[in-house]
C-alpha cells in the first residue's frame, strides 16, 4: 500500500493545506492524476499523485494545514477494494424543520460529510458504497458562510489523462432543482457525498456568488482588491455602493507602483518592446500575457493597507516565503554575472514577417523569441540546465524553462514551461499564455513548480535595460532580458541604429565558470541571428 503525501511544491514550502479533494476512495488514479487542490503560502496548486492504484482512505480533511510529507491518502493496488470502515461519528447538525424534511427526501440517503471547517483534526473516514434508504439524511442547517477569499471555481481541468472511473453523480430532486435555479451544471460538479453524490452544499459552493453592488462599487473594489462579499451593506436598497468600498479601504495614500525588489527576479510576462514597431504584431494572442503584464506592475506593495485583512495576511505570507528563498539563494549560491548586448534586427524583421502571415492567435512577441533562444542555447551548454544538490550538479532531464511571473497580490512565482527547447514558437506562446492565465487563477500544477531547470526573467516592459537577478534555488542559473530598444550601434564601420537587447546571466559559480556562461550568452546571441531556426 502506498501513500499520497503532502508534496513539496517548491524549495521553500514547509506546509500546505488541502483545500479540495478531487478524488475519492475507490477512484482509480494513474501517474499524474490531479488528486487534490493544495494551498500554500504562495499560491494554490493542483497536486498530482504519482502512484497508480486505487484511492483507499482520505486521511486528511479539507481545510487542514499539514507539514510537507504528511500522508494525505492511502493508495491501494490497482483494482483493490478499499476496506469498509465505520463512519466517523460526527455531531448531527440539527437544521430547521423544513431542512430536515428536505434532507429526508434525498435518494440514497447516506449521511453526508459535514461541511469543512478549518483546523478539524480528526481524519475523515468516508464510507463508500453504503446506502441506507430511509435513513434521514443530515443536512447542514445553512449554506457555508461566505469566505473572504473566493474559492476557485470547480472546473475540472483538462489534464489529457483518462478520468478515473466513478459512478454517475447522483443527486436528489432538491439538489437538482437548486442547481437548475442557480444555473450550475450538475454534470460539471464534483460531488462530495458518498459515491460522489452531489450535495446541496456542492451546488451552493459552485453557485456564482452574487453580491449586489453598483457597477462603480465593483470597479472600485476590484481596483482596491477589496472583497465585496466581505463588506457590510449600508444603503437601504440592500446594495453596496462606492462609499461602502471606500469605507473598507483604510489609508488613502498613493498606491505603490511596481515595487519589485531591486535584485530579485521579479518580472512580468513581457509585452513587445518598441511600441511603434510592434504594434502590428499585437493581436488577440498577446491579450492574456499583456493583461498580466499590465496588472502585475500595479500590484500593491506588500502589506497593502487597502487590502482586506485576510488579503494582507496572504501578502505577508507570500512575501515571507519569497524572502526565505531569496535569502537562501544569496547565502548559499556564489553568483557571478555576465551580460551581452544582442542585435535583434534580423529577429524582429523575421518576426514581423511571420506575424503578417500568421493567424492572430499565432502571432509572436519578441519575448517568445528570447525565451526560445534561451532554451535552445542550453542544448550546447547543459551545465547551466539543472539543479545543485548534495554538493554536485544534477543535470535536468529536459530543458524546463521557468518563467518568472509577478502575481497580482505581490510577489512572484516561476512555473516551468516543460521542454521549452522543443516547442515551436507559436506553441511556446500558447504555453506561456496558458501558464500566465493559470497562475492568475491559482491553477498551476505541482510539477510545474518543481520541474524548472533554469529560470528566465524578462523585465523589458518595465523599461529596465538589464536585469541581474537572484538565482532561484536549487537551479544554477538565471537568464535575464532587459528592454528591446533602438540604440546606436556600429554597423560596417559606421554609426547606425539597431534594436538591441541586453541579455544577462546570473550563474552559480559552484556549477559553472565564466567561460561556460560566456559561451552560453554567445549561443543565445547566435541563435537570435537566425530566427528562422528558432
Amino acid at each position: 500500500m502506498a501513500e499520497f503525501r503532502m508534496p513539496a511544491l517548491g524549495a521553500d514550502m514547509d506546509e500546505g493545506t488541502v483545500t479540495e479533494w478531487l478524488v475519492h476512495p475507490g477512484d482509480e488514479v494513474t501517474r499524474g492524476t490531479i488528486a487534490a487542490i493544495v494551498e500554500t503560502d504562495k499560491s494554490t496548486i493542483e497536486a498530482e499523485c504519482f502512484t497508480p492504484g486505487t484511492v483507499g482512505t482520505l486521511l486528511i480533511q479539507e481545510g487542514t494545514k499539514v507539514p510537507v510529507g504528511t500522508p494525505l491518502a492511502t493508495i491501494l493496488e490497482p483494482g483493490a477494494v478499499p476496506e469498509t470502515a465505520p463512519v466517523a461519528a460526527m455531531p448531527p447538525r440539527t437544521g430547521r424543520g423544513s431542512e430536515a424534511r428536505e434532507g429526508a427526501e434525498r435518494e440514497g440517503g447516506a449521511p453526508e460529510t459535514v461541511p469543512r471547517g478549518p483546523g478539524v483534526p480528526e481524519p475523515v473516514k468516508v464510507e463508500p458504497g453504503r446506502t441506507e434508504p430511509g435513513e434521514p439524511a443530515v443536512e447542514p442547517a445553512r449554506p457555508e458562510p461566505v469566505r473572504v477569499r473566493p474559492r476557485p471555481k470547480r472546473v475540472r481541468p483538462a489534464s489529457g489523462k483518462p478520468a478515473p472511473a466513478r459512478p454517475a453523480a447522483v443527486s436528489s430532486p432538491l439538489v437538482r432543482r437548486l442547481a437548475r435555479e442557480r444555473g450550475v451544471p450538475l454534470a460539471r460538479l464534483h460531488g462530495t457525498g458518498p459515491d460522489g453524490t452531489i450535495t446541496r452544499g456542492d451546488v451552493e459552493r459552485a453557485s456564482p456568488g452574487r453580491v449586489r453592488a453598483s457597477p462603480y462599487a465593483r470597479r472600485l473594489a476590484a481596483e482596491a482588491r477589496v472583497d465585496l462579499a466581505a463588506l457590510p451593506v449600508s444603503a437601504p436598497d440592500g446594495a453596496l455602493h462606492a462609499a461602502d468600498v471606500r469605507a473598507a479601504t483604510t489609508t488613502p495614500g498613493p498606491r505603490a507602483q511596481r515595487t519589485t525588489p531591486p535584485a530579485a527576479p521579479a518580472s512580468t510576462e513581457s509585452a513587445p518592446g518598441p511600441a511603434s514597431a510592434e504594434a502590428p504584431a499585437l493581436g488577440a494572442a498577446t491579450a492574456a500575457p499583456t493583461r498580466a503584464a499590465q496588472e502585475a506592475p500595479t500590484a500593491a506593495a506588500p502589506g497593502n493597507p487597502r487590502a482586506a485583512p485576510a488579503e494582507a495576511d496572504k501578502d505577508a505570507a507570500m512575501r515571507r516565503a519569497i524572502g526565505r528563498a531569496m535569502a537562501r539563494s544569496k547565502r548559499e549560491i556564489p553568483h557571478y554575472y555576465l551580460s551581452a548586448t544582442i542585435d535583434l534586427t534580423r529577429a524582429l524583421a523575421w518576426m514581423r514577417e511571420h506575424n503578417r502571415r500568421a493567424a492572430v492567435s499565432d502571432r509572436l512577441v519578441p519575448s517568445a523569441l528570447l525565451l526560445k533562444a534561451a532554451a535552445l542555447a542550453l542544448r550546447t551548454e547543459p551545465a547551466l540546465n539543472g539543479t545543485w544538490a548534495d554538493d554536485r550538479f544534477v543535470p535536468g532531464d529536459g530543458i524546463h524553462l521557468g518563467v518568472a511571473i509577478a502575481l497580482r497580490h505581490g510577489g512572484l512565482i516561476a512555473p516551468a514551461l516543460r521542454h521549452a527547447d522543443a516547442l515551436a514558437l507559436p506553441d511556446l506562446m500558447h504555453g506561456l499564455r496558458d501558464l500566465v492565465e493559470r497562475t492568475r487563477r491559482g491553477r498551476l500544477r505541482g510539477s510545474e513548480l518543481t520541474d524548472g531547470t533554469i529560470t528566465v526573467t524578462n523585465l523589458g516592459d518595465q523599461g529596465v535595460d538589464a536585469v541581474y537577478g537572484v538565482i532561484y534555488p536549487p537551479q544554477v542559473a538565471l537568464v535575464g532580458f532587459g528592454r528591446v530598444a533602438e540604440r546606436p550601434w556600429a554597423v560596417d564601420g559606421m554609426l547606425g541604429v539597431r534594436p538591441l537587447v541586453t541579455a544577462t546571466l546570473s550563474a552559480d559559480h559552484r556549477a559553472t565558470d565564466g567561460y561556460t556562461g560566456g559561451r552560453y550568452l554567445q549561443a543565445v546571441a547566435r541563435l537570435l541571428q537566425r530566427p528562422e531556426d528558432l
Binding site: S214, P215, Y216, R219, A235, P236, D237
Partner: protein, 331 residues
C-alpha cells in the same frame, strides 16, 4: 465693450428673428398669425411693420400645406423660418417634416437640400388641456435627418437661430411656452452659440441632473434646494436633443456617478430613456446607483390646474429623486 440690457426670452427670440431678416434677404417668416397678430406668443410682434408682407407671411390654418410650402421654398434656395404655433399642431405636418424635410436630402443623394428652420412652442403648465400640452421633442429627436434644438436660456434664444439658418439641413427649434416671459440680462452684442453641444449650467460633484428646455429651470431650483443640505448637483442643459451630446452627459456622470434626468415627456420610450441607455452603454462602470428619471405622469395632461401640476415634473419630485439616488447618504 457694450453693456447689457434687461430683456425677456420672447424679446431675445424676436431680436434673433430681426437679425436674421436683416442680414439675409432669403430669410422670411411664415406661420399662423405671425404677421398681423404679431405671433401667438407675441414673438414676431412688430416685424410685419418692419419687414413687410413678403418677409412676414400669414398662412392659412393648414400645417401640412404651409410646412410643405416652406420645404419647397427651402429646396428652391430660400431660407424660410416656419412657425408652427405649437408642437401639438405639428402632428398635422408630421408627414411633411418626417417624409419630406428629413428625407429629401438622403433620397436625392444630396441633390436637394432643405435648409429649413421650424420653430414650435412646446410643453404644458398653462391649463391648455390634453390636446394642447404635449412635449414631443423626444419623438422628433428620434428622426434621422433632423437637428433638434431646445433653447432654455436667453442666450440660446438669442443665439441659436443664426447657426440654425446656416445649417443646410432642417432644424427644429422647440420653445417651451413657460419660458417666453422669463426675464434676464443679455449683452447688447451677444456671443455666438453653437448648436452642437450641451452646457453645464451648474457644476457639482454629487449627482448629475440632466434637463432641457422647460425643465432646466426646475433642475436648477432643485439644485439650489439640495445645496442647502450639502448635496452639490451638477446641472447639464442638453441644448441639442438631436444629435445628443453624449460626451457632456457621460463626462458629467463619470464625475458624479449618479444621474437624474428631468424630462417633461412621458417616460415610456422618451428622451430620458434614450439618455439612460446611453449612460448604461458608456458609463456603466461609473454608476453608483441606477439612473433615475423624473417625467410627466403617464396620463394625457390634465386640464384642472392642480391635477396638471401633479402630473408634470416639479422641483420637489427632482429633489426626492436625487435623495433616492443618493440612497440616504448625503454626499
Amino acid at each position: 465693450m457694450s453693456g447689457t440690457t434687461k430683456t425677456t426670452y420672447r424679446e431675445a427670440m424676436r431680436a434673433a428673428l430681426r437679425d436674421a431678416l436683416t442680414r439675409d434677404e432669403r430669410v422670411f417668416l411664415m406661420g399662423e398669425d405671425v404677421g398681423r397678430y404679431g405671433g401667438c406668443y407675441a414673438v414676431s410682434l412688430g416685424l410685419l411693420e418692419e419687414f413687410g408682407p413678403e418677409r412676414i407671411r400669414d398662412t392659412p390654418l393648414s400645417e401640412s400645406a404651409f410646412v410643405g410650402a416652406g420645404i419647397g421654398a427651402a429646396v428652391a434656395g430660400l431660407r424660410p423660418i416656419v412657425e408652427i404655433m405649437t408642437v401639438n399642431f405639428s402632428l398635422l405636418a408630421l408627414d411633411q417634416i418626417m417624409n419630406n424635410a428629413a428625407t429629401l436630402p438622403h433620397m436625392s443623394g444630396g441633390q436637394l437640400r432643405v435648409p429649413l428652420v421650424i420653430r414650435m412652442t412646446t410643453g404644458a403648465g398653462r391649463q391648455l388641456a390634453a390636446q394642447h400640452s404635449h412635449s414631443l421633442e423626444g419623438w422628433y429627436a428620434h428622426i434621422p435627418g433632423l437637428r433638434v434644438l431646445a433653447p432654455a436660456t436667453l442666450e440660446d434664444a438669442r443665439g441659436m437661430l443664426a447657426p440654425a439658418l446656416e445649417c443646410p439641413d432642417p432644424v427644429l427649434i422647440f420653445e417651451h411656452g413657460a419660458l417666453y416671459g422669463v426675464a434676464g440680462e443679455l449683452p447688447d452684442e451677444p456671443e455666438p452659440v453653437d448648436i452642437a453641444h450641451a452646457a453645464i449650467r451648474r457644476a457639482g460633484s454629487d449627482v448629475t441632473l440632466v434637463a432641457y428646455g422647460g425643465t432646466l429651470g426646475k433642475a436648477l431650483s432643485a439644485a439650489d434646494e439640495l445645496a442647502v443640505s450639502g448635496v452639490e448637483a451638477e446641472v447639464v442643459d442638453l441644448r441639442v436633443l438631436r444629435p445628443l451630446d453624449d460626451a457632456a452627459v457621460v463626462g458629467s456622470v463619470r464625475r458624479t456617478h449618479r444621474a437624474v434626468i428631468v424630462d417633461e415627456g412621458w417616460r415610456s420610450g422618451s428622451l430620458s430613456a434614450e439618455i439612460t441607455t446611453r449612460l448604461v452603454e458608456q458609463a456603466f462602470y461609473d454608476l453608483d446607483a441606477p439612473v433615475a428619471r423624473v417625467c410627466s405622469a403617464e396620463v394625457p395632461v390634465p386640464y384642472a390646474r392642480h391635477l396638471e401640476e401633479a402630473a408634470l415634473p416639479q422641483v420637489p419630485d427632482v429633489v426626492a429623486a436625487v435623495r433616492t439616488v443618493l440612497g440616504g447618504e448625503d454626499g
